[in-house]
Assembly symmetry: D3
Homo-oligomer: 136 residues x 6
Amino acid sequence: MAVVPLVNDEEASVEALAVFNEIRQVRGTDYVNNFWRALAHDPVQLKSVWNNIQSVMAPGALDPLVKELIYVAVSTANGCGYCVHSHTASARAKGMTPDMHAELLAVVAMASQTNALATALGVPVDARFDPEQTKG
Amino acid sequence: MAVVPLVNDEEASVEALAVFNEIRQVRGTDYVNNFWRALAHDPVQLKSVWNNIQSVMAPGALDPLVKELIYVAVSTANGCGYCVHSHTASARAKGMTPDMHAELLAVVAMASQTNALATALGVPVDARFDPEQTKG
Amino acid sequence: MAVVPLVNDEEASVEALAVFNEIRQVRGTDYVNNFWRALAHDPVQLKSVWNNIQSVMAPGALDPLVKELIYVAVSTANGCGYCVHSHTASARAKGMTPDMHAELLAVVAMASQTNALATALGVPVDARFDPEQTKG
Amino acid sequence: MAVVPLVNDEEASVEALAVFNEIRQVRGTDYVNNFWRALAHDPVQLKSVWNNIQSVMAPGALDPLVKELIYVAVSTANGCGYCVHSHTASARAKGMTPDMHAELLAVVAMASQTNALATALGVPVDARFDPEQTKG
Amino acid sequence: MAVVPLVNDEEASVEALAVFNEIRQVRGTDYVNNFWRALAHDPVQLKSVWNNIQSVMAPGALDPLVKELIYVAVSTANGCGYCVHSHTASARAKGMTPDMHAELLAVVAMASQTNALATALGVPVDARFDPEQTKG
Amino acid sequence: MAVVPLVNDEEASVEALAVFNEIRQVRGTDYVNNFWRALAHDPVQLKSVWNNIQSVMAPGALDPLVKELIYVAVSTANGCGYCVHSHTASARAKGMTPDMHAELLAVVAMASQTNALATALGVPVDARFDPEQTKG
């Protein structure tokens, strides 16, 4: 159940509909995800998030699939079920194989385990991790 | 400040010292991180975590650097300062450039933002994300 | 699906029913939220939480609407879907407009993003934030 | 200890220094917080975060002090010590009194408590919270 | 909705089915929880998690019921609805009474509240909590 | 570094000092933890938290040591370093042995791992966990 009604095309403002149509064009599908329809009550936020995500997830020093894996990992740790679903789907669309998915889950599980141990033990950061030490 | 005293070589049990020495050999350094020294009060847990991390982080369908990036992302979302430091250091040792680091942070920041929005809006998962639909 | 059966009026203990009736009176409605019906298995906890929430959310140095906005923000960051729903509804009942909701979400999203960046960068607290410096 | 060296004025790129100077001008102080100095390794991210925070935190349907209170609340729930410090300082600079601070903490504590209870009880969202019900 | 199809007995690999059958034998029931069926896409991970959980939750210095209470507490704080359900059920099967459940929830709620307060106040760790002080 | 100055005995209000003295009497020590000194800016909150913690942590269906273990577990999952330190110390004072500590950590680590897996897999709650099924 959404906290706000999902905005359909008829209800969307001109600015929101323009973003919906850009999403359709970029993704090559008529379907617009619920996330964008929920966000459309605030067309400025909708446009800003859509633009940022386009720019952040574009190919760069990291390739788009790696970025999606990172996105799924963060969404899992933050407990966002919606985001886990949508970005696992995006990762598959960008080439994530079942083996890659299994390894992603294994790393996320391992990290969650050692995060808890390091916190429960209050482990102090090693002096050698200080980047100021290597600064000329 | 640690919750337990860090175990030095002299205080370590035979089993714990064996793991310390394996860490030294695998990593090609005499230095053993505080995390392992804090964990050494429970040599069974120490050995199990060290073995698992070796196996989970090994090359596979994902390469070791990608796995480190995922590890840093999870550690950030879980708020584990120690883990962020140690795995950012590991990622650098495995070839993470400043540009890759910057893109990692940008994805983590973007995901954190949309995770919050999806949760605050209670966005329902789209039916098309259901994997049972595509099951023969 | 609840972890415990929701307690209806017939099943409620005398103490729990008294709290249900006080909720009805204060809120001017016959409806008692699922949260209270789930909590009613422990009438002492039910009464204590209801009393505390009445006192904490009352007008004071901050007005009740501002308190509801803060409640929604915390519930979002903690990933509590139920609480996001119920306190967004309360905020609306206390006068939150769609524009205020949109700005609330924008601040929550912004904070989530910079929280992640500050954690991923391990930013040390500036000495000037130390309140002991300004203590006479 | 930071994960990256803090960038001082001499080390900053032209783009980063321009943001530092804009921060100085807007805030009427020569001091630039550690957060911005850590972020300055990626001038594009630095500029984007600074611009967004200016626009999100500006007066609107909610006043800037209320926005800072929300920021502190989210930062607390996300466990970001740096952000709690810096935004509590900002809230004070915008007029937060000790009484307002005390009430902020009381709401954050109350919400954290009921978030945990609602999650531990798996409370299902009441049908009446569905906004689609009230959609014409 | 699961992110991956749940694996039924017919679809399971030989290795996964062997774990399913071990679960049946150990628990004395034909029923295999959805968690294991979702994990079965990666039989190595399935076997490893099942083996670890058997060993970690076994009687030791802490009894199995206490371990389940701790499991429920962590799952609540991490916001994992599935885990709250399954481990509350396990705790009941191991003897958790309604009174014990109520006290568990009260402690979890209390801890969540003071965790938030300590973080919002940035309370520094008392020197006397340092275990190195008492090290001979 | 605290967000507020720690309140010493001379600076404490009459109400706050009364709580400090009650803490001293109950614990049989002159030392008052930093947590209470930070909270003392709001004597009402100080008294309320102190009273609640006395009542919640008292012997009941669960014994006080088990309650401390649960407190440490929640504090770890919530990433509250201060609380991990203070409640690990309390648990030791109430009889937690190194073996019990090691098992506590093992359960917390295991739960953190499976919480992440269940969330990343979006595992749906099994119908048999529904308590309404067993309601007469």
